[in-house]
């Protein structure tokens, strides 16, 4: 099993936004998706994910609605809003900048 990496709250937000930018989904499937996309490196438990989803919704970056899924279940599906897309773009830029600064410090390499 790949080691679970501790996630900072802000990065979890970024991950959720990114993964919801493709296809809207519910909480359970989103947790799976994170595990799959990170090739099992990241496992987010429900206790971190759901509060994060609620937080992002309160901020207006994602929105939720109830759908009936294939096997006649009702599922609450989260999707990115326009503001969410803007926030995602901004966060991605922040991260690249941060990553390059870090690599300068660690490796002495120029950007």
């Amino acid at each position: 099993m790949a080691p679970k990496t501790a996630l900072v709250q802000g990065t979890l937000d970024l991950i959720v936004l990114q993964l919801l930018s493709g296809e809207p989904t519910n909480g359970y499937d989103l947790a799976n998706r994170i595990r799959v996309v990170s090739r099992d490196a990241l496992r987010v438990n429900a206790g971190s994910l759901y509060p994060a989803l609620y937080r992002l919704e309160a901020r207006g970056w994602i929105t939720a609605s109830w759908h009936t899924t294939g096997n006649n279940r009702r599922a609450k599906v989260y999707a990115l809003t326009a503001a969410g897309r803007r926030q995602l773009a901004a966060d991605r830029r922040e991260w690249s900048r941060f990553a390059s600064v870090l690599s300068i410090i660690l490796d002495g390499r120029r950007p």
């Binding site: 519910n26 909480g27 359970y28 438990n45 429900a46 206790g47 759901y50 509060p51 994060a52 609620y54 937080r55 919704e57 309160a58 901020r59 207006g60 279940r73 009702r74 599922a75 609450k76």
Partner: protein, 904 residues
């Protein structure tokens, strides 16, 4: 937080219940999906669900976090939090009751004091745009009397009106009292004599009928008119609208009611029950109203739109300069500076005493309020700290740190709010009942306006009360809130006696709770000193020798109109009244005078025949008394030399006078005044040396002026039969209780003139007692505050020391185990506890000395730094503190070493 977020959260609040269902459903779906996965892997449905739950984690905790993340927890949760808070309060009833009661006390006292000061100094009379009203006056500044404010004579008010008409619309008014009745049952009532445009200037419309027209100002109108106040209309005419046109008697004359003013309006004097024009006044109250040049009339003006205060003041000033000496009845001597002033309503209403006393009262009440807040804050802190572990456990069990913090404060907030509401309601009640007399400080031209005296709550006072409640909640909950926020889970669970009142706290390190106790002790010390000074003042003024025998004397006024009984007819009238009263069984002796002892007296100038007339500034002022022969017997004043007055000293006989011992000493030091002749100058009946009176006797001193004016007892008595005004105070010595004879005396007076009422019948004891009503009020209020402050400070100290002992039981147990004697432990706790009040006494003494000068004018024969009072206050405070420390100290000595070591 953006607007959108706030709205979203508010929406979350409103839709709380559905949001809650939403969340539950979402979580259930998640669990079912997870269970389905486990089932697919081969588990039974039940096991699958268990595994799913296990994988999920602590559902309750996570749900709380989700609620936290959503924002406002919703009204349902608020309700739950409040209920929980109330349950917590119910579990600590003593704490709750003390907090609520203390907050109620602080808030109520502060609101009451504010309302009194507001009514005395700032509350506007019920007229529109009171801010544009002004009162023009004449001022004389002289070395002898300082700045005196004077009114206007009637001719001057008309001239002033024309002169300032472009900038200010003016009308004259005076307070006047008369005997009024509708059908029998005469009563002496206050009213106002006004120019016809008075109501127009004030902007007040009648609710019934009309007000005076311009042409209704002359004395010779066919149907004389009167306007009634609302209350007067209700009592005399039972609120019947047919009152307009009905008859109303004023001083024996029939007037027609032409209008009724709105409820709550009582003129600028705030007491008027009726209004008559200046023209009618010449017939009813004072025949010379429109012609005399005495300056007794007030003027109110409303500045026209766009006119500034300076422009109006200039116009008045120009008028004054042009009028010159015509402004005064006696031209002031050259050394005095004359001028005019234009006052706002507030300037005109604050008497000298109110300006000094109101701030003192407010300061004392604020001190008490802060003390109460400090006490409550202290209690809250202790309560918060001791529940630290409970909060930690609840947070660990899934409460969510923020929710638990909020919950623990909700209960306390509820207690504070309840106490605040109780306090404001109590204040409104006390004010409404007029338990505290609103006019206790007298007033200037405009009397004070008591809030809640009229039906309907006074918005300003209620708003103030609400603001005070909010402030109290802030002050009191701030420290506990900070403490709660700073607590982390781990700290709380680890337990132990650490924290704001841990072992070291009550000892060396200054802490918030200790600082609060010191503040409380300081405030209590200052209030004790203030209360002690005022109580001493009151005691001293009560003990001052008045010089009269005050028991069994009835006093009242008769005030027939001077129009009916001018000075040449007054002696005969007064003589008949005196004779009739003497015939009443139970009456020993009767006299009359210009006033009753200690209530104030009339003054006049005096000249001695044979001595050169002094310069105007040096003419001596004496107190003048036109009395009956039995005067000295009624008041118990002893005759020292010579003789008093007899029935032989009547109108035709040679004029005589009696002087007081102080007067004799002052004007004839070392010589015998008997045989000397004195006269009193224009307007007194003893105008010239030819009409002088011969002194025939000397009597002992008596105090006719209020004691705190410290007037010298230079009294000159002359028989009323030789000269008097008709308005008299009547003094009756009775064998039994004075008030029991009032009906009989009233009949006797009305046998002489049925339109004359007995005004304010009281015993002389009451009159004298009233003269120090203000000192008594001040002393009572401050002493009450001081006692309350002492109690609050003592209980606050007790709470802190007891709490400290409770936290230090382990330490005490160890000390005892190591061999410390009980006395040593007692001494330790006791000394630690007493350091706070000791510091407070020192700081409070410094504070009291600093503020002492401000109290000076309120004090009588006691200095602001009186050592006895200071020492007494210190002793009292330290004694109370000692008692507060003793109980916890003794409990500390009983700490069982074994139990303490085993605990934790």
């Amino acid at each position: 937080m953006t607007i959108r977020e706030i709205l979203r959260r508010l929406w979350a609040t409103i839709g709380a219940r559905s949001a809650e269902r939403d969340m539950q459903r979402e979580l259930r779906e998640h669990l079912e999906a997870a269970a389905a996965r486990f089932q697919a892997a081969g588990m039974t449905p039940a096991d699958a669900m268990t595994a799913a739950r296990h994988e999920f984690g602590n559902i309750g905790h996570i749900a709380e976090q989700m609620r936290d993340a959503r924002g406002f927890t919703g009204l349902a949760d608020l309700g739950r939090d409040v209920r929980h808070g109330l349950r917590t309060l119910a579990r600590a009833p003593a704490f709750t009751v003390v907090v609520t009661a203390t907050v109620a006390l602080g808030v109520g006292a502060l609101t009451t004091a504010f309302a009194i000061a507001y009514g005395a100094l700032w509350r506007q009379p019920p007229v529109p745009a009171a801010a544009t009203l002004r009162l023009p006056l004449v001022t004389i500044t002289s070395a002898r009397y300082g700045i005196e404010r004077m009114g206007w004579s009637y001719p001057n008010t008309r001239a002033l009106r024309s002169a300032v008409e472009p900038v200010m619309h003016t009308a004259s008014f005076t307070a006047a009292s008369a005997t009024v009745s509708r059908a029998g049952d005469p009563e002496f009532a206050p009213g106002e004599v006004v120019a016809p445009e008075y109501f127009d200037v004030l902007g007040v419309q009648p609710v019934l009928g009309r007000v005076f027209r311009q042409d209704e100002d002359g004395p010779g109108i066919a149907t004389p008119a009167v306007v009634l106040a609302h209350d007067e209309w209700r009592t005399r005419f039972a609120g019947d609208s047919a009152a307009v046109g009905a008859m109303y008697r004023v001083n024996g004359n029939e007037l027609s009611v032409i209008g009724v003013m709105p409820a709550g309006f009582r003129g600028l004097t705030n007491r008027a029950r009726f209004w008559i024009t200046t023209g009618m006044a010449t017939r009813l109250t004072y025949v010379g109203y429109q012609t005399t040049n005495q300056t007794f009339i007030s003027v109110v003006g409303r500045m026209r739109a766009g006119v500034s205060h300076e422009q109006a003041a200039d116009a008045v000033h120009r008028f004054g300069a042009a009028a010159g000496d015509a402004l005064f009845e006696d031209p002031p001597d050259g050394s005095a500076r004359t001028g005019t002033a234009l006052l706002t309503l507030n300037d005109a209403r604050a008497g000298r005493v109110a300006l000094k006393a109101a701030p003192a009262l407010l300061a004392a009440v604020t001190a008490l309020y802060l003390l109460a807040c400090a006490n409550v804050a202290n209690l809250m802190l202790g309560h918060t700290v001791s529940r630290r572990r409970e909060r930690a456990v609840r947070a660990a069990l899934g409460g969510g740190v923020r929710r638990v913090a909020w919950q623990s404060l909700v209960g306390s907030l509820a207690a504070v709010l309840a106490g605040g509401v109780l306090g404001v309601t109590g204040a409104a009640f006390v004010l409404r009942m007029q338990v505290i007399p609103a006019g206790i400080w007298g007033g200037g031209l405009i009397r004070s306006l008591a809030p809640f005296a009229d039906p309907g709550a006074d918005v300003t006072v209620v708003a103030f009360g609400t603001a005070v409640i909010a402030l109290t909640a802030l002050l009191v909950l701030w420290a506990p809130a900070v403490t709660v926020a700073r607590d982390s889970l781990a700290n709380g669970l680890r337990g132990g006696a650490r924290g704001a009142s841990g072992a070291a706290a009550t000892r060396r390190r200054p802490t918030l709770r200790g600082a609060l106790v010191v503040i409380e002790a300081t405030l209590a010390m200052m209030l004790l000193v203030g209360g002690g000074l005022l109580a001493t003042s009151f005691a001293r003024i009560r003990a001052t020798e008045v010089g009269v025998s005050r028991t069994n004397v009835l006093t009242f006024w008769i005030r027939p109109s001077e129009a009916r009984y001018p000075p040449n007819r007054a002696p005969a009238f007064v003589a008949r009244v005196v004779r009739e009263i003497e015939r009443v069984p139970g009456v020993e002796a009767v006299s009359v005078d210009g006033g009753a002892p200690v209530a104030g007296s009339a003054r006049g100038t005096m000249f001695i025949v044979g001595r050169p007339i002094p310069a105007p500034n040096d003419i001596p002022m004496v107190r003048r008394h036109y009395v009956a022969p039995n005067h000295f017997r009624v008041l118990g004043i002893s005759l020292l030399r010579g003789r008093g007055f007899t029935a032989l000293d009547d109108a035709g006989a040679p004029r005589v006078a009696v002087v007081s011992a102080s007067a004799a000493e002052r004007f004839w030091p070392g010589a015998d005044p008997i045989g000397q002749r004195i006269w009193f100058g224009p307007g007194s009946g003893y105008d010239t040396p030819d009409s002088a009176a011969t002194i025939v006797g000397i009597v002992s001193d008596a105090q006719y002026d209020p004691l705190d004016q410290r007037a010298s007892a230079t009294d000159i008595y002359t028989p009323f039969t030789q000269f008097t005004y008709v308005s008299r105070a009547v003094l009756v010595r009775t064998t039994g209780h004075p008030l029991a004879l009032v009906p009989a005396v009233r009949s006797a007076v009305q046998a002489v003139d049925p339109d004359v009422a007995l005004v304010e019948p009281r015993t002389l004891e009451d009159v004298i007692g009233n003269s120090w009503a203000r000192q008594r009020f001040d002393a009572q209020v401050f002493a009450t505050f001081a006692v309350l402050a002492l109690l609050l400070a003592a209980t606050g100290l007790y709470a802190v020391v007891a709490h400290g002992v409770a936290q230090r039981t382990r330490e005490m147990g160890i000390r005892a185990a190591l061999g410390a004697r009980r006395g040593a432990i007692f001494g330790l706790i006791f000394r630690d506890g007493m350091t706070f009040p000791a510091i407070g006494v020192a700081a409070g003494t410094v504070g009291a000395l600093a503020c002492g000068r401000a109290l000076q004018t309120l004090l009588y024969e006691v200095g602001p730094a009186d050592p006895l009072v200071l020492a007494g206050a210190a002793v009292l405070l330290l004694a109370a503190a000692a008692v507060a420390c003793v109980v916890p100290a003794r409990r500390a000595t009983r700490a069982d070493p074994m139990a303490a070591l085993r605990a934790e």
